[in-house]
Symmetry: C2
Subunit: 426 residues, 2 copies
């Protein structure tokens, strides 16, 4: 028997009562918040946002953990995600009850209801957490293989270490932006031709990378690793992520210390964090790993999630977006929990709100690869987008990621993660 | 004519009135602050710390920028460093006047003086800024060459790109700790031998890296690069930094995305930020660069600083530390301003308080290299430390970095940056 909310939710909505993803928003002036309205946490329900600061101030979080907690009176979700799974469970139960068709407390109190349920079209979404550190993994085998073939040739496309550990690098936290933020084409150096100096100018190989990212929960103290079998308790939920990449800058700079300016000009995340609790019905077995991982990466519950992913591009000047790739989160070889356990095995501390990207999620088929580098094979196989040809992204192109899990009669969706390319500065 | 302070300062002190480095401290309970005493900014003068929150509350910052600013009533220096060079100049002038032997306002007010001048031995030093992002460069040619020889052999020890751009990678901000914090030996994976699985356990190649790091001032908006010729206005000052490294973990994991767990278990910085203004008398010409850098890296004022650096190790169980290397900041090939301009050329935003490490500062001579990897040639040439042999660091070893510029009759010093190795967790 499914849950039903008194808030009307379309059948194709990403945000029914089974989902209830968390975000941070600012009411726009149109709905009375004024320009100076402070950012506050909310959950999405249908076409509405439930203002958790109002719910909290009205005393409706009445469970033992959240009753007197100021966690929803903050400008970010860091305090709430830091409280851990018991608090997350309590909040979810409370919110599903408050929004249920059988519960009168909000349903029948029109003044409170109007105060706390705002139209999604009338709020501005912000970054959901203050991101202390952003790490990006490299956990799709198909992506690792394709990149190896393109950059190093067919001899040994995947390095020996890849099958033993979830490879990752530290990303740039300051340039993580919320969906909808324009992305300025970066300038930088690229490979010299012959004996010329290196190329300098706007990147000629602007790319997207289809990723998802975990938002870290409580985390750990420096020097105290998190066991892989309790790692899930440190993952609050997931967002969509576009790790924009300038392939020519990246190719020239990345030896020997890894990607730097080829990726640090912007990373876009979707605004709604879908919790692992909401994703539970979509858990599926993760790929069998060969060779068997070392004991610290061997987990009793080795799961991925069945999250269908799509990338659409609306080319500059076009009216309609074109579907360019369809992948699935379940293509990941290393699980979220293995990533998190590996990240802390040396004692590295994770903090609430940290961001752990999965790396580009490519599947095995040609139509399921997660970036243009792979799709056009580094520009050698240009793609036809409704009559327009693309090797890489052009100024004015808009990239839209979508993700939606299909349940029995309901969705658990992520909304979208979008960004439009602006011309480089002169 | 030199400045003289009414505070007595030993001739060999690192902290005379010419220096006045900034830090953040908490009074220890012994000096009346109580356990709950809030962190606040201070400057070092001789064996004392001047409490800037008290100076500010007493209305003694009377210049136009700082008069009504709450920047010294914060738990970090982020707000102050974000104000930029005019505020830094004003603060320096004000503090040099307040501490001068000719100025009665503090000198003759014993109750205020006792409130704001605390013994350095009775305060606890904390991280001076909240570090949004930590970047580590790779700017010593000697270090790059030695690492290349050790890891890849003599064919082409320095990669082609190195001479065209200041190579860097993103580091881990969460594990940056203040001098004196113990460092737990990390566990992790290392290269397999033959057909065995990879090694797993405590690192067997624990190393230090002698670095300095810049603290970023105002910084820039996303998408708006900082010109190399104004980059110095975005550098507040310098600290000593030990980028602890586990060489076996690093060697196995770093291809193709760069160092990760081999370095993210701890990075130690010294507590006092020495300003570029205080370092001005020690500016010196930076090395001529060949090939000539691209225009965006060509600067009208191409300077390093003459900062003598020392690394001492106090081996476990020994009473006295042993000098193991002597280098100099002036060994850097890429300047701080080139590093900063390069970092932002793609539009990446820097925020006040960010940390930019120089990379290991090795000189050309054998006794001037900045890590044990180079000094023992990856363990092949063990070093004799007062009768104790070391390939890499052992549990209980304490590493002490020192830096001190020698002026005419005064020093501008950095104090020390220390850390002691603790055993790995079982």
């Amino acid at each position: 028997m499914g849950l039903i909310s008194f808030v009307e939710v379309d059948l194709d909505s990403h945000f029914p009562i089974e989902n209830l993803p968390y975000g941070v928003f600012r009411p726009s002036s149109a709905c009375g918040g004024g320009d100076a309205a402070a950012p506050r946490p909310g959950v999405a329900i249908g076409d509405f946002v439930l203002d958790l600061s109002v719910v909290s101030s009205a005393g409706l979080f009445d469970g033992p953990i959240l009753k007197n907690s100021p966690c929803f009176l903050q400008a970010s979700l860091n305090m709430f995600v830091g409280l851990g799974r018991p608090a997350w469970k309590e909040a979810r139960l409370t919110l599903q009850r408050l929004l249920s068709v059988d519960e009168p407390i909000l349903r029948d109190n029109s003044s409170l209801r109007e105060k706390c349920l705002l139209k999604m079209s009338e709020v501005e979404m912000l970054l959901p957490t203050v991101i202390g550190d952003y790490t990006d993994f490299f956990s799709s085998m198909h992506h690792a293989k394709n990149c190896g073939l393109i950059f190093r040739g067919p001899a040994k496309p995947i390095q020996e270490n890849w099958f033993h550990l979830p490879i990752a690098y530290h990303g740039r936290a300051s340039s993580v932006v919320i969906s909808g933020t324009p992305i300025v084409r970066p300038r930088g150096q690229a490979y010299p031709t012959g004996s010329s100096p290196p190329y300098f100018g706007p990147t000629q190989k602007m790319d997207f990378e289809l990723e998802m990212a975990a938002i870290v929960g409580p985390g750990n103290e420096l020097g105290k690793p998190i066991d892989v079998n309790i790692a899930a308790d440190h993952i609050f939920g997931l967002v969509l992520m576009n790790d924009w990449s300038a392939r020519d800058i990246q190719a020239w700079e990345y030896v020997p210390l890894g990607p730097f300016l080829g990726k640090s000009f912007g990373t876009t995340i979707s605004p709604w964090i879908v919790t692992l609790d909401a994703l539970e019905p979509f858990a599926c077995e993760a790929p069998k790993q060969d060779p068997e991982p070392l004991p610290y990466l061997t987990e009793s519950k080795h799961v991925n999630y069945d999250i269908p992913l799509e990338v659409w591009i609306k080319p500059a000047g076009h009216e309609h977006p074109v579907l360019v790739t369809s992948s699935n989160f379940s293509n990941l070889y290393w699980t979220l929990t293995q990533q998190l356990a590996h990240h802390t095995i040396n004692g590295c501390n994770l903090r609430p709100g940290d961001l752990l990207g999965t790396g580009t999620i490519s599947g095995p088929e040609e139509g399921s690869v997660g970036c243009l580098l792979e799709l056009t094979w580094n520009g050698q196989k240009p793609q036809n987008l409704n009559g327009t040809i693309r090797k890489f992204l052009e100024d004015g192109d808009e990239v839209v990621f979508k993700a939606c899990c299909k349940g029995k009669g309901y969705n658990v969706g992520f909304g979208s993660c979008t960004g439009k390319i602006q011309p480089a500065i002169p």
